[in-house]
């Protein structure tokens, strides 16, 4: 490929795919080391129990078993840290240890570790470990957990409250709601979801007794952060003695951001036994003990005028955070949820209170969208409720309350950095035009006369991408207490080939391709000459990893800035080589020449060679074309758009079928439309699945009823129509590329589009709200029992 065609904006296929789809990828379970042992965890079958004793004698007697460890054995290392407490409030922190000590807090909590010569022996031996449990009272529901008489899970957390946090203006909001012409109240549940990456999680740890160094392979979206947390917080050893490597990752969706027990216990056991130790969870373990997402119960009121102006929004959310706190659990329902609950609307008075709650369930942390899907679902459902209440078309209510384009940068009064840029009307208009809104409304009216139920649902969303600015997120106000910048290194080899290393990394989203496209344009070199490296803490500069749709807006910008440094140095050296002034050097297509003399060129390869051999460099210039940047952006980015879902409901069975799905998104500049569409498709599928099929269910005893792929309803392809995607482009002023981010937008926008459509279809039955997922049973009950089924 030549660079005369711009690479940015090209829909080229992902360069990583041939490897990944032909079984040539190197995933965690492909790591095989000499002398490696295999670990299997004995997990609590009780949701809440005292561990009275552990008898491992039978397990130890099984040939091939090397050791059985308990939580007490590992008491020389610290509990896993919670790295993001909610800002400005007390947080009653309780985090898990490598293995539970004394008490199991949820089904699947790790109680003992069996280490054996192979995985099968370890698995069999785990069944032979006899644990004496004393079952304790259990609570799984966030609301019940806060009520008097509920079992108390942690001594430092009265009423099981983790934290009580708020944002916005309480007094002004109370006044606005008290004075409103119209108020609508609802209890909205955002059900618990299980992220379900195709590849489950795991760790392989190796310890070198001679040097005291660990190497840990991990399914992590943030290996540098893991190194920091494991070294400094869990083991109390220097960061220099831990190397973390993320190999290929088969999807993460947030579940692979966090520090997990298996990272700690494989390291601990490898050091103890002097042999490498591997742990890979099976699907049931992933479901029981890796993190879940969402799980909010919210009482919400929206207030407004009869002519469709929203005047107030009051939110009170209980966020179920599980039996312990995962790495960034309190930050998700606060900073990434409460602060964006006003959505795309100019709401003069809003207040959001969030209480995090402990329950006897798996930990809840970021899951694709992380807080923002919960926020956009809430506001978009309530805008529809309000529209229905005043009898106005939901599209019109949205239009009347959109933040107008002239108000950007816009502060929403909820403590967020200003929305960078936006123009919400055109995306809504475009979506309505594509779907044929007026014709559909006419069809709907006609269908109702014939006893057919068709629904149209809108979702106008805004989200927070490129989560970074250290000056904001690092302030005590947000509780994060660290930066969130990103790094890049670009070096040009002697032959002119370019190697880019990023502190971010791909976990399935094609960053090798996207980043190479950017470098090809910015440096003017062939796309195929750019190699992108990532994922190894000893091979890449420190970086914060991949989440919050930040890899492109933050990591990509770090690369752009680094390439600029390389280009400037190359020009300086070219000037020296061509015996000209640098001001007269033109850089074009990866070549330098003196203005007016395009025949005499120095290619990037010529310059790189000169820089490397270094026998003739300008005075004071260092050898080598090799530059690094640590980039901290001034703001987040705020992608937006409107999605429209059209559903048909079977009057006999209540089954919902998704007839059409239109998505008009504005993610700023698009580097690779194919990848952006791919990200949106996957994201939309996950959001639609939340609306129609998915939901993690615990019974009252804390047993995870949806404990495998048989019971947990991950969507099938047959659920979806062809998605109709289109875009508007509003460049982000925050970064030179003008990009916003696309990794989570689909999920953030879609659940409410579908639910608004379902509830719109059920309007003739007097249904005002329905909790997700809209299974045929729930819909049928709503059609036949009015609110009885609707509120369940």
């Amino acid at each position: 490929m030549t660079t005369t065609t711009k690479m940015i904006g090209q829909a080229i296929k992902r360069r990583e795919d041939p490897k990944l789809i032909t079984g040539q990828g190197q995933f965690l379970d492909d790591v095989k080391l000499t002398g490696m042992l295999h670990a299997v965890v004995v997990r609590s079958p009780y949701a809440h129990a005292t561990i009275k004793g552990i008898d491992a004698s039978k397990a130890l007697a099984l040939p091939g078993v090397v050791a059985v460890f308990t939580g007490e054995d590992m008491s020389d290392i610290n509990p896993l840290p919670c790295a993001w407490a909610a800002g400005k409030v007390d947080n009653n922190l309780n985090t898990p240890r490598a293995l539970a000590v004394g008490k199991a807090m949820h089904v699947g909590d790790g109680v003992a570790l069996v280490v054996a010569e192979d995985r099968y022996i370890a698995r069999d031996a785990a069944d032979l470990v006899e644990v004496d449990y004393e079952p304790l009272a259990v609570v799984v529901d966030a609301k019940k957990a806060t009520e008097p008489g509920a079992p108390q899970l942690h001594e430092n957390a009265p009423s099981n409250i983790v934290m009580d946090w708020e944002c916005g203006d309480r007094e002004k909001t109370d006044a606005a709601i008290a004075a409103a012409e119209v108020t609508v109240r609802e209890q909205i549940v955002n059900q618990r979801l299980i992220p379900t990456p195709m590849e489950t999680r795991g760790s392989v740890a190796r310890y070198e007794p001679a040097t005291g160094e660990f190497t840990v392979w991990m399914t992590s979206q943030a290996p540098h952060v893991m190194r920091l947390l494991l070294a400094a917080f869990v083991f109390g050893i220097p960061e220099t003695s831990v190397r973390c490597i993320s190999p290929n990752i088969g999807g993460g969706f947030g579940q692979k951001i966090f520090v997990y027990a298996d990272m700690a216990f494989t390291m601990w056991a490898a050091r103890k036994l002097g042999r490498p130790v591997k742990f890979v969870e099976d699907r049931a373990e992933n479901y029981q003990s890796s993190t879940h997402g969402r799980d909010h119960i919210t009482d919400v009121e929206i207030a407004g005028t009869r002519d469709g102006r929203i005047t107030g929004l009051r939110i009170d959310t209980l966020a179920n955070l599980g039996g312990y706190l995962s790495t960034i659990a309190p930050g998700i329902p606060t900073t990434l949820y409460g602060r964006i609950t006003t959505g795309v609307y100019k709401i003069p008075a809003a207040h959001c209170r969030v209480r995090g709650v402990y329950t006897n369930t798996a930990m809840v942390d970021a899951y694709r969208g992380a807080g923002r899907p919960e926020a956009s679902y809430l506001i978009e459902r309530m805008v529809d409720r309000f529209a229905a209440e005043i009898g106005m078309d939901p599209a019109e209510v949205r239009r009347r309350n959109f933040i107008p384009p002239e108000d950007f940068p816009y502060s929403n009064g909820m403590g967020l950095l200003p929305y960078d840029s936006g123009n919400y009307g055109p995306a809504l208009d475009r979506a309505l035009q594509i779907v044929g809104y007026d014709a559909l409304r006419a069809e709907q009216a006609e269908a109702r006369k014939q006893g057919r139920y068709l629904g149209i649902g809108l979702s106008s969303y805004v989200e927070i991408c490129g989560v970074a600015p250290s000056a904001w997120i690092g302030l005590p106000g947000e509780g994060w207490g660290a930066g969130l910048w990103e790094s890049a290194n670009v070096r040009v080899h002697l032959t002119g080939k370019v190697v880019v290393t990023t502190g971010s990394l791909p976990h399935g989203q094609g960053l090798e391709t996207t980043f190479a496209q950017i470098v090809a344009d910015e440096l003017g070199v062939p796309y195929d000459d750019v190699v992108v490296e990532w994922g190894d803490t000893s091979g890449t500069p420190f970086g914060f990893g991949t989440y919050g749709s930040r890899s492109l807006a933050v990591g990509g910008t770090a690369i752009v800035k680094t390439v600029a440094k390389v280009r400037e140095k190359a020009k300086l050296l070219a000037a020296h080589m061509l015996e000209a002034r640098v001001e007269d050097i033109v850089w074009e297509d990866g070549k330098a020449f003196v203005k007016g003399s395009p025949d005499q060129v120095k290619t990037l390869g010529d310059i790189a060679l000169q820089a490397a051999v270094a026998y003739s460099l300008p005075e004071g210039m260092e050898p080598s074309l090799d530059e690094t940047t640590y980039y901290d952006p001034p703001n987040c980015t705020f992608p937006f758009g409107t999605h429209v879902a059209v559903v048909d409901i079977d009057a006999d069975t209540g089954a919902v079928s998704l007839r059409r799905y239109v998505a008009v998104d504005d993610v700023g500049t698009v580097i690779n439309p194919l990848i952006v569409d791919g990200q949106l498709h996957g994201g939309i599928a996950q959001g639609v699945a939340q609306a129609l099929t998915e939901g993690a269910i615990y019974d009252d005893d804390g047993q995870l009823v949806t404990g495998s792929l048989l019971e947990y309803a991950v969507p099938k392809a047959s659920l979806f129509p062809q998605f109709e995607t289109d875009r508007t482009v509003t460049r982000s002023p925050v970064n030179p590329l003008g990009v916003k981010g696309a990794g989570e937008a689909g999920t953030i926008a879609s659940a409410q589009a579908v639910m608004n459509a379902v509830i719109d279809a059920l309007q003739p039955f007097g249904v005002k709200h329905l909790q997700m997922p809209a299974t045929s049973e729930r819909v049928w009950n709503a059609m036949h029992g009015g609110t009885r089924g609707a509120r369940s």
Binding site: P45, Y46, Q703, E711
Partner: protein, 151 residues
Amino acid sequence: MQIDGEDLLDAPIDCVWQALNDPAVLARCVPGVTALVPTGPDAYDAEIKLAIGPLKGTFKGTVRITEQVPPEAMTLTVDGAAPMGGVNAAGRLALETQGTGTLVRWQAEPKLRGTLATVGARLIGPVSKQQTTAFLKAIEAEARQLASSRR
């Protein structure tokens, strides 16, 4: 989850009652029992081989008989654990003469844990019904024998 059912046994109520309270009879009648060792009045340590769909295993646990109202009612509480998970169930049996036979109404609320709670949950209903019916069929045979030996 609540499961219940009723079975009509062709044996007089006092014989059914006697069979139900005899450890030796119970050991013969409970499907899959490989050991039933009395540990006190109306309390036993039990070992039961059981298959619930794809899940097969040997449950070790306890059986207790409480709330006896001869010959009309009793509560059978079973607590067992196997590698695939555990079950705790209190089953209430109500006996009533019907003609020359005995109608047994039963209800139980099994609480499952571990893999059983997920993979087994959808199967436990039918399996419990089948096992209970098999158990009562065997009790019926024992009770009929008791009845004929009395004559």
